[in-house]
Subunit: 203 residues, 4 copies
Amino acid sequence: MSARPARRRQPTEVRRAMVLEAVPALVSERGVRGTGIRDIAAAAGVSVGTLTYHFSGVREILAESLAVQLAAYYDPLRERAAALAPRDGLDLLLAASLDEETRPHWRLWFECWQDGVWDDERSQHERYTGWHAVLRDLVLAGVADGSLRCADPDGTAARLVALVDGLALQRLRGVPPMSSEQAVAHVRTALADWTGSSHPTGE
Amino acid sequence: MSARPARRRQPTEVRRAMVLEAVPALVSERGVRGTGIRDIAAAAGVSVGTLTYHFSGVREILAESLAVQLAAYYDPLRERAAALAPRDGLDLLLAASLDEETRPHWRLWFECWQDGVWDDERSQHERYTGWHAVLRDLVLAGVADGSLRCADPDGTAARLVALVDGLALQRLRGVPPMSSEQAVAHVRTALADWTGSSHPTGE
Amino acid sequence: MSARPARRRQPTEVRRAMVLEAVPALVSERGVRGTGIRDIAAAAGVSVGTLTYHFSGVREILAESLAVQLAAYYDPLRERAAALAPRDGLDLLLAASLDEETRPHWRLWFECWQDGVWDDERSQHERYTGWHAVLRDLVLAGVADGSLRCADPDGTAARLVALVDGLALQRLRGVPPMSSEQAVAHVRTALADWTGSSHPTGE
Amino acid sequence: MSARPARRRQPTEVRRAMVLEAVPALVSERGVRGTGIRDIAAAAGVSVGTLTYHFSGVREILAESLAVQLAAYYDPLRERAAALAPRDGLDLLLAASLDEETRPHWRLWFECWQDGVWDDERSQHERYTGWHAVLRDLVLAGVADGSLRCADPDGTAARLVALVDGLALQRLRGVPPMSSEQAVAHVRTALADWTGSSHPTGE
DNA sequence: TATGAATGAGAGTTCATTCAT
DNA sequence: AATGAATGAACTCTCATTCAT
């Protein structure tokens, strides 16, 4: 509508943040491959030159975007989980990983990983071993306080991570269709089977 | 006269098959994104024109190739499984899905899916509902013959599919590292927990 | 005038030659820096894609063009010189290096050298040590047959090369203006002073 | 308040001079082509905006820088030469043109000329006709005082200029390699041959 | 049926210049 | 006087597709 939004100057950090905000929706819609620097520029309301001024290139934009996105979602979640009893924290984390709103996260995640957006393994390692460690620690804590029973906490955590990944992937794929509720139910069933925990919400 | 003998003329179906044979090795090495029509032409020993003559485009080549590849792997496997007792057939299928040699399959599979190589959902649907149905039927058969105990065969099958997907994905990703043996052990543990089956090989 | 020249197919070597022919005029007019792949495409009457199909990139086009150009000019010249008496051959070579038509050659040469169009030193080395050797051999031959007197043939050749380069550069630069005739006269004067030879044409 | 102290305000002429000082080192290292306005800004410790405020553009910066640079080198040299006997002054000038430290000068010079950094011919004309005139005047003075013998002072000066240019070019090019000493020896040999002067240092 | 030269849109990146602050 | 964010045209190169042969 506006003829020209006029050139608004922003400090680098602000502009970077504004751009990064625009990316996930784009990637969620068109995929990493289909998201060019010109698309990002249009979505962010700036010129391509502005993007390469504030970022080293498309790769950095995507990588940063993903990192920001993941941190924004998981960090508060982890804190909320830490405030709960181990069994409840575990349930919260697993259920939240598969709820309706996480779709863009998973899409971004799988696509970035596949495209090798990260040259270094830092982020990947961080995300995965971090995620795995959080689950394992919660299982251990649950075992310690007697709310969970589990012979092999490390293996259990690995299976939970894989199950969540697989369910998320299937939901992303869309065939066969699986609702968020179904996915969460699946992971809760597995958790119950593996740790003797009954569903906290089912009480 | 010419030093280079003209290429042999082949009926379409023959030529198509010859081309499709050359693709998986290529994709396994360079990925779907890195495999161009020129690469395929060179690997198949034909010209690019020949490819677009026999196929509608690069997408069709990749899609067909994947379908052929998967069928070549899973069809005999299914038959072997069908010849066994349900519990053993189930174990065979799950273990085979994660053994060392399946890496190229998984790579091809994830990449093609991600890149949206299939416009129609036919292949995907076929693969996934087929795969899911096979597992479910085996679980049902095992319950029927008393070798397995399972309240929800459909849900169990869904969880097994997801777990296998997740484990394969993690193996592909490489962080944290997971051996084929570990992956198989994980899925066998889950199977035992969910169906009361003990590992056939562990007897 | 023609709406579209229609797409004419040419064997690679033919097309390459056609493209290479178009380059020197372009570079002579706009310089290496100002000559983009689009300019070359337009001048050669093909699309940019055609250029990158037949060449690995802009660098190769420029490098090849220069090599072809230099060879086309100097090779016959060398042969003609070889057929003459040493003193006359030397004179022919020096005079021809500075005649009117060599301007594009020099332009191409200086610009390509400066822009580092050649990564390898092959071409440079070939051109310069070859050129230097030819002159030196002629001086030596002239000394041998008594038509030239020269204590240091190698040094004399080096000075002649430098003088020709410097004169060509000045003509290219345009300030102060120097005609081809003046340049040739200068190099003949130097030759006479350094070898005791009088001008063959001046007799 | 701010940690980073605001840049000192400077009168235009002061700021211009400060910037121009930073350029030659940059160009000597990265070449004219590789020197962008951002590089200059960084090297001079100012922002890009400051550069375009004080200069009309990058061309002007390079052109000015070259002019300053050349003047700084040659003006004192000319004065020193003027204080000597003509023959010795001539020798000083020629030898100094080719000594080891002049490499950056020549590089700057050739690159700027090639890139057409100067739109006007002012600087070029100044440099070249000035240089030529200085040499010619020294030859004339040498002839007048009997220390040199030369029938055509103007032509001799032209040849000396060309020879120096050619030798400098070859040294810059690096193939075949030529030391500063060799280059100076060549020009002295030529000088001796053309003016009957023996080397002042050889006495 | 087979070829491979030709195409051109689109990719990411560079960079001198502009101009609001 | 000084800044640095913003611009957009121009660059080279990629590549699936087209089509004359």
